[in-house]
């Protein structure tokens, strides 16, 4: 079992029911292939940086799960067939540091069930850089 993160971008034209149906369909497939879903982050509709299939927006959903390696190929195959998902990205978390990040994300999502605005900590040094570059 390895640690994975799966991001899917769904079509913005789906209504609430259709979206829930598609997401439960996806989580069913994950579980059928032996994955254990640890957390789910519903980011929601956001603007795409560029058009995908003529869509300007997309619904972002992230899954954190552990799964055997063989499951990924099958899940990706099904996502490719499913028209409602316009983009996806699976990321494998391998070494200790990456897994620590994975655990942190899962903790964050499972503790705060009512999704609070997650403002990632941006250190002051990073925020200031824009000014120094232009100077």
């Amino acid at each position: 079992m390895r640690h994975y993160e799966l991001l899917v971008v769904a079509k913005p034209t789906l209504n609430e029911e259709e979206l829930q149906a598609k997401l439960s369909f996806l989580s069913d497939i994950l579980e059928k292939n032996g994955a254990v879903i640890a957390a789910k982050n519903h980011i929601g509709s956001r603007k795409l940086a560029y058009q995908i299939n003529k869509f300007e927006r997309g619904i972002y959903v992230v899954y954190y799960f552990t799964a055997p390696t063989a499951a990924i190929a099958e899940v990706e195959r099904i996502i490719r067939i499913t028209e409602e998902f316009i983009r996806f990205m699976t990321v494998k978390f391998e070494n200790q540091k990456e897994i620590r990040h994975w655990n942190k994300q899962v903790d964050k999502l499972t503790k705060k069930t009512p999704v609070v605005e997650q403002e990632p900590e941006i250190p002051a040094a990073l925020a200031e850089t824009e000014e120094t570059e232009e100077a």
């Binding site: 603007k47 940086a49 990321v91 540091k97 620590r100 941006i122 990073l126 850089t129 100077a135």
Partner: protein, 88 residues
């Protein structure tokens, strides 16, 4: 040295912030290593350490694929602050 130094003293900002893993979904962290045209800035200009530069590169490429940040900025449709529009 007649040439004026363009950039401030360089050091790895990611090391300073003690970032262990750079998440591709977090565009704010990636912003530091991107130019105005959303190209990946070289290490010699940003001062990133090699380890973090490699992490950033991978994260930027993933972010581009998932449409979190653009591949290119259209030169014909120039917007004043493109980054904020993408945010929401």
């Amino acid at each position: 040295m007649a040439e004026k130094r363009k950039y401030a003293r360089k050091y790895c900002k990611y090391c300073e912030a003690k970032i262990e893993y750079i998440d591709y979904k977090d565009a704010k962290i990636l912003r530091h290593s991107l130019s105005e045209r959303y190209k990946i800035m070289p290490r010699r200009l940003t001062g990133n350490c090699k380890r973090h530069q490699e992490m950033v590169e991978l994260a930027i490429k993933r972010a581009r694929h998932t449409a979190v940040i653009p591949y290119i900025i259209d030169t014909r449709k120039v917007v004043a602050v493109p980054f904020e529009q993408i945010q929401q």
